[in-house]
Symmetry: C2
Subunit: 492 residues, 2 copies
C-alpha cells in the first residue's frame, strides 16, 4: 500500500466515525424523543472520543509523514491536501487529551447555564462560565500558537489563514459605509411599509414549493433531504447524505423558503465536494467563511433577486393563491424590508453585518483583556446604541442572545460577515461568465452552480480561503462587492 | 471498583456502540436518501466490528469471571444476569472472527440474490446462496454445540433453552386442531363477507388515532416515537428511545392501526425493561418468542377484542365519519376475517400459524439433510397444498417470499408461533387478576401493562423463556390457551 493509500484508509475510518456522530447529532435535532437526550450525549461522547483518537494517533502522524515524503511536489492538489492535513493534525495534537475533555465538560455546563441565563435574562448566571471559557480560550491559543495576538489563533480555528489584522482590515472598510446604507434602507422601508398578503400559507404547500426551488438550485434529493427543526441547519452524514432543515411560519412562506435557500447553499457546497475524497481535506469544506459565502450567495444574490421572482412568483402563486393580490414590485419590497432589530438571527440583509461587527469588536476586546466579563453587558448595550440607535431592553435581547460564546466559539462570529463579503465577490465574478449571466436572467442556475463547483467546491480545503477568493475572482478579499450589492438593492 | 461495576462499565460501552448502530439502522429504514446506502453500510460495519470486539474481549471475559466469583449466590436476579452474560459470551467467542466476517459477507450477498430471485420468481438465483448459508449454519451449530441435533443450536440463537424436541412437542399439540379451527374460520368469513366502509381514511387521521390507542396501551412518547416504513418494526436506540414504525393504507385504517398495536406491544416490553440495567441481560429482552408474545397479546387479545372496540369504535368514528355506517358486530366480523392466502405477512390471526408450522418443518428437514435445497420449491408447494388446499402460483408466492433464510436466520420462524402460544397463556393468567379484568372490560390497560411489567418485562433475560411462562402462568408452555382463544373467536 502506498503511503497516501494508507493515510486514506486511516482518514476514511475517522470519517466513518465522525459521520456516524453527525447522524446521531442530526437525529438529536430532528426526531429524538424528549427523554432520550442523556443516552444520546453518551453515544456522542464515545464517538467523538474515538474520532479524536483516530485523528491524533501516532500511526496517523507516521502515515502523514510518509505521504508528505512521497508526494509529487508539482501536484498542487495533493500537496495542498497533505499540508492541510498536517495543519489539522498539529492543531489537534497540540491540545492534550485532558484539555480537550475539560473543554467539552466546560462548554457542556456553560451551554446549560447560558440557556438558563437567557431564559431569565440574568447575565450573572452565565458570567463565571464565560470567564472560564475565556481563560481556556487563552490557554488553547497559547498551545496552538499565533503571530501577533491570541485572538488570531481562535480565528484560525474557523477561518484558516485569517488573522485579527486581516479581518479588521476588511471590516474597517465595511463599517462606515454599511452604517449609511443600513440607515437608508431602514428609512426606505418606513416610507413604503408593504406587507405580504395574510396567511395561512399551509406547511404542506410550503414544503412542496421549497423543494421545487431547492431542486432548481441543483440540490440533489437523491443525496439529501429537508426536515424540520427549531433552528435551521445543514449537516453532512456521508459523501452522499447532506441534510438541510428549516422551520415553518404559516403566516409567512418566505421564512421557511429563505431558510431552505440559505441551507441549500451550504448543501450545494457539500454536494459539490469530491465524493472520492470524503474524509480528506481535498473533499472537505475549507472554512466557515467560504461555507457562509455559498449560503448567502444562494439566499441573497439569487433568492432575493428580481430575476428569481420574475420566474418564481407565478409558481408561488399556484401554491399560495393569495399572492395574486401582490405585484412583483411590492413583493420585492417585502423581501427587501430593513429595520433595526435586537436579534441577530432575525436581522435582514441590510442590517445583519452590523450585528457581527459589534460581536467581533467585543470578543476581540475580551480576549485582549481590554474588556472584562462583568463589563460585557454594559459594553454591549453601549455599542448597540451607537450602531443601531436603540438599547436592548434586557440582556436576553443583548449579550445573552447567541449560543456561540457558551460553546467556547470565540472567533466564529466574523466568518458570517466574511461569508457575505466573499459571497458577493464570487457572485460578481460568476456573472462575468456569459452562460451564468444568461441563465440567471432566466432563473436557470445550472451554469452558476457549475461555476461555483469549478471555482470553489471542487478545490475542497486544498487552498487557503483567501487564495480561493483571489483565484476565483481575480481580486483581493474586500468589502467592495458586498457594499455595492447592498447599495444597489437597498438605497436605489 | 467491584467486579460487577467493572463489568457494567464494559457492557455499557458495548451498549453505547450497538445502540448507535441501531440508530443508524433506524435512519436507514426511515429517512436515508437513496444515494447514501453504500456509506451507511460502511458505518454499520465499523460499528458492529467494534461492538463484537468489545463483547468478546479478554478483558470482558476476565471481568465476567471475577463477577461470577463475587456474586451472592442467593441473589437470583444477579446470578441469572451473569449466567446469561456467560452464555452470550461463550456463544460469541466460540465463533472465530473469520467465520463472523464470512457470515456477514455471505448473507449480504444472499440477501441481494434473494431479492432478485423473488422479483423474478426464479429460485435458481437464490439456491446456491441458500446452500452456502445452510452449510455455514451447520458449521456454526457444530461450534456452538448441541444436545441432540444441529437445529437445536439454531433455535437456541433466538429462543434460549428451546430445542427441536420442545418446539415439536407444542407444535404437534397445536397442528391438527389449528387446521380444524382455521378451516371453520375461513368458512365463516365466506358465509358473512362484510366489508369496511370505503375510504379514504386520511393518513393524518390515522396517525392521530393510532397515537391515541398507543398511549392508551401505555406507550410513553416521551421515550419513543412512531414513524413510517415499508415494513413495520420496533427498535431500541437507547434505554429511553424505543421507536415503532407502521405503514398506511388510505382504504383501510385498521392496517396501520394493527401494525401500531403489534409494534407497541414490542415497544412496551422494551420500555418496561429496567433502564438502569440497559446493556445487561437483566435489562434486555429474553427471546424473540417472548417478544412476540407481547406484540401478539396487544394486537390480538387486546386490539381485536370486542371490549376494546366497544370503547374505541366511537372514537374511531370521530376520526373517520364513514364508520357510522357499520355497527360493532359487522366491524368485529371485518377484523376477524379469515382466509387462506399465500403470503405469511398478510395472513390473519386464524391461519397465521399454519404458515409457521410449514416453515418449521421444512427448515428442520433442510438442516437434518432430509431435504435438499433443490427440492425445496416442490416440497414447499406440496406442504402448502396439504395445509391450505391450494398451490402457490410461483415461488415468489411460495418458498421465496420471506427474507429470513437469506439472512441465515434458520431457527427464527418458530418463535412467531411460540409467541402466539405464550401470549395467550400470559393473557389468560393476567385476566385472573381482578384489576386487570375489570380494567380490560372498560378498555383501561394500566393494570394489564402493570401485570406484564411485573411478570415478564421486569425479569429481563435473567430466566429462560419457558421459566418465565411457568412462573407467570403456573403452567407449562403449551398450545392450549392459544387454541382455546382461536376457537372462541373464530368458530363460535
Amino acid at each position: 500500500m502506498s503511503a497516501i493509500e494508507n493515510l486514506k484508509k486511516l482518514t476514511t475510518e475517522a470519517a466513518i466515525v465522525s459521520s456516524s456522530a453527525s447522524t446521531l447529532g442530526w437525529d438529536q435535532e430532528t426526531y429524538l424523543p424528549e427523554g432520550a437526550h442523556a443516552w444520546r450525549a453518551r453515544q456522542l461522547a464515545w464517538l467523538s472520543g474515538r474520532c479524536h483518537e483516530l485523528s491524533t494517533s501516532k500511526e496517523f502522524g507516521g502515515a502523514l509523514k510518509s505521504a508528505l515524503d512521497e508526494v509529487d511536489s508539482s501536484d498542487e492538489r495533493s500537496v495542498g491536501n497533505l499540508r492541510e492535513m498536517q495543519r489539522r493534525f498539529d492543531r489537534a495534537t497540540k491540545l492534550p487529551a485532558s484539555l480537550v475533555e475539560r473543554d467539552s465538560e466546560l462548554s457542556s455546563h456553560a451551554k446549560h447555564a447560558w440557556s438558563e441565563a437567557r431564559k431569565k435574562s440574568d447575565f450573572s448566571i452565565f458570567a463565571p462560565h464565560l470567564e472560564a471559557l475565556l481563560e481556556l480560550s487563552r490557554e488553547k491559543a497559547e498551545l496552538w500558537g499565533y503571530e501577533n495576538e491570541s485572538y488570531d489563533a481562535l480565528i484560525e480555528t474557523y477561518e484558516r489563514g485569517a488573522t485579527t489584522a486581516s479581518v479588521s482590515k476588511v471590516f474597517d472598510e465595511l463599517g462606515p459605509e454599511l452604517r449609511t446604507i443600513a440607515a437608508a434602507a431602514v428609512e426606505r422601508t418606513k416610507a413604503n411599509p408593504v406587507k405580504l398578503p395574510s396567511g395561512p400559507y399551509p406547511v404542506e404547500q410550503q414544503t412542496a414549493f421549497n423543494e421545487k426551488v431547492a431542486r432548481s438550485f441543483g440540490f440533489d434529493f437523491n443525496r439529501g433531504r429537508i426536515d424540520t427543526t427549531a433552528h435551521p441547519f445543514c449537516t453532512t452524514l456521508g459523501p452522499s447524505d447532506i441534510r438541510l432543515t428549516t422551520r415553518y411560519d404559516e403566516s409567512d412562506f418566505t421564512s421557511s423558503l429563505l431558510g431552505v435557500m440559505h441551507e441549500a447553499g451550504h448543501g450545494l457546497y457539500e454536494q459539490g465536494l469530491r465524493q472520492e475524497d470524503f474524509g480528506l481535506p481535498a473533499g472537505d469544506s475549507v472554512s466557515l467563511g467560504i461555507h457562509e459565502s455559498q449560503s448567502r450567495l444562494w439566499e441573497n444574490h439569487v433568492g432575493r433577486s428580481r430575476q428569481f421572482w420574475e420566474h418564481w412568483l407565478p409558481v408561488a402563486t399556484d401554491h399560495f393563491p393569495q399572492l395574486k393580490e401582490i405585484d412583483i414590485d411590492d413583493f420585492l419590497a417585502v423581501i427587501h424590508r430593513a429595520e433595526f432589530s435586537f436579534i441577530r438571527v432575525e436581522a435582514d440583509e441590510a442590517t445583519y453585518d452590523l450585528h457581527i461587527l459589534l460581536r467581533f469588536n467585543l470578543e476581540h476586546r475580551l480576549m485582549r483583556g481590554d474588556l472584562t466579563v462583568s463589563d460585557l453587558p454594559s459594553a454591549w448595550n453601549e455599542a448597540f446604541e451607537q450602531s443601531f440607535g436603540m438599547t436592548p431592553p434586557d440582556d436576553a435581547h443583548g449579550c445573552l442572545q447567541d449560543i456561540h460564546w457558551s460553546m467556547g466559539g470565540l472567533g466564529y462570529f466574523p466568518t458570517y460577515t466574511l461569508g457575505n463579503l466573499s459571497g458577493a465577490q464570487f457572485f460578481n465574478a460568476a456573472m462575468e461568465d456569459d452562460a451564468v449571466r444568461s441563465g440567471f436572467a432566466k432563473a436557470e442556475y445550472g451554469p452558476l452552480l457549475n461555476w461555483l463547483g469549478r471555482n470553489v467546491h471542487d478545490l475542497g480545503a486544498t487552498l487557503d480561503p483567501s487564495d480561493i477568493v483571489r483565484r476565483a475572482t481575480g481580486n483581493e478579499p474586500s468589502a467592495g462587492a458586498h457594499l455595492e450589492h447592498l447599495r444597489l438593492r437597498y438605497t436605489k
